[in-house]
Symmetry: C3
Subunit: 202 residues, 3 copies
Amino acid sequence: MNTIGLVAFALVGSSKAIREEFDVFGIIIVGLAMAFAGGATRDLLVTRVPLALQSPVEISLGLFGVVLAIVLSVFLSSPDTHPITLVADAIGLAAFATTGAIVATEAGVSAFGVIAIATINAVGGGAFADILLDRSPFILFEDFYASCAVLGGSGYWIVGTVGMTESTAAVMCAVVTVVARFAAVTYNWDLPTVQNIGLLSK
Amino acid sequence: MNTIGLVAFALVGSSKAIREEFDVFGIIIVGLAMAFAGGATRDLLVTRVPLALQSPVEISLGLFGVVLAIVLSVFLSSPDTHPITLVADAIGLAAFATTGAIVATEAGVSAFGVIAIATINAVGGGAFADILLDRSPFILFEDFYASCAVLGGSGYWIVGTVGMTESTAAVMCAVVTVVARFAAVTYNWDLPTVQNIGLLSK
Amino acid sequence: MNTIGLVAFALVGSSKAIREEFDVFGIIIVGLAMAFAGGATRDLLVTRVPLALQSPVEISLGLFGVVLAIVLSVFLSSPDTHPITLVADAIGLAAFATTGAIVATEAGVSAFGVIAIATINAVGGGAFADILLDRSPFILFEDFYASCAVLGGSGYWIVGTVGMTESTAAVMCAVVTVVARFAAVTYNWDLPTVQNIGLLSK
């Protein structure tokens, strides 16, 4: 699952950079940033050297996603919104949220810490890629996306707290995240803004 | 003081996100980012796990600020510029600068390090929130704001260097920061740009 | 070389902030961010307290670059594109890439890690300065700039792998980076975008 996630995230990041007419170096960096910045932030928060800097396998998967984005851009105008990419991206989201929850639990942080690190691991890369592309992170004002990782991380923590094993918690986190994401895409879920729910004065 | 600061910072961050029509998730994230990103950066710089990930109390205060922003947005068009918020924000600025200076001194960094970490702790959250909102951090081109934290951090270091106790230094830092900020708001202090002071050629 | 780099980077960062009409505080911060953010990120990635917070000498050099930018802005409309600045900047790029490669090797990361940290150390400051100025990092869509650091880092790793001493590797890294950068400026090298090489559909 992590494998699928790395490739999918790098593919989505690179596709965005191609659309913005970044040069080849920029395309590689935005793709790798999307794939690895979440995990690197997670590792920094629990103060260890980012895994991505130590494992050649992970980087190769990221680079494969970048190449895939360049090749696909010849045939498709936006490979990052293709249904297969959406599925792969949802799987990646779940895989990354789960890894984040596991690492956070090992680091002994609070319940909020577990959910926060699961979410940062899952969506931090996408947010950072958007900052590099000079726009607000899309996860903040659009879509039921990061919320899936929040639900997954909460699932992990609840299952862990009631005394079940870590692997049960991991499965729960992955399933909750991916099911929530599929439901969100299928039924077009959206979180309301304060304006939408008619709360805002004037 | 730290309590007031966390609530005030989360309130200001969330109010900005509401104005930009972010969804509920975005409002929570920008609020929490404003309240905690400065402290998290401070902890990363001295390589320890961010306190915010370990303490449920701090997070609850941040979330309270977020809720407050949403509730107040029903009655006020910009709760973040209300006089009470400005006062709470100034207190938060002083509290955060002081915490930063204390943590930095414990980590044994240089005089510049103490002032830098005090300033980053105080204004890093606001700067990060602005980056998430896709604009230049307001502290960089407007207002006598971050400069108050620089003055406070310098005060801390001077008092510490002449041999007085850490708590005297902490009081000095907090007082200098909050007085400078109140003066800046009252008298509309502003740092000049190079253009303003007529230095720039052409 | 590191000395020249710190001054040049701070000068370039501050010049950009002056052009954006930031106030004096903003000019100092963007200049220091450009000079030190790359090195600080490098230190965070290998989990140690950033050197810049511990060494008063380095900070003084950065501040000297900031002052230089303000003074020069009186006589020149853009001191950051002056030939002397370009040369100093190229030397800084090489110095920073080399320091990054050395620190990364000591931290025992993979080949990719060495190249990544060399590049981040060299161009991370410039990228962060651009984010503060609310634009996409220029290194991502323009110029053969970061690529020089990638080449230099690769040179370091290759020389190290074939069994030569660390100082030979360091010299190789610095020479490759600076020569590549001079060649890029002289011959107007540019990396293609996917659009340029005619790959993109439609």
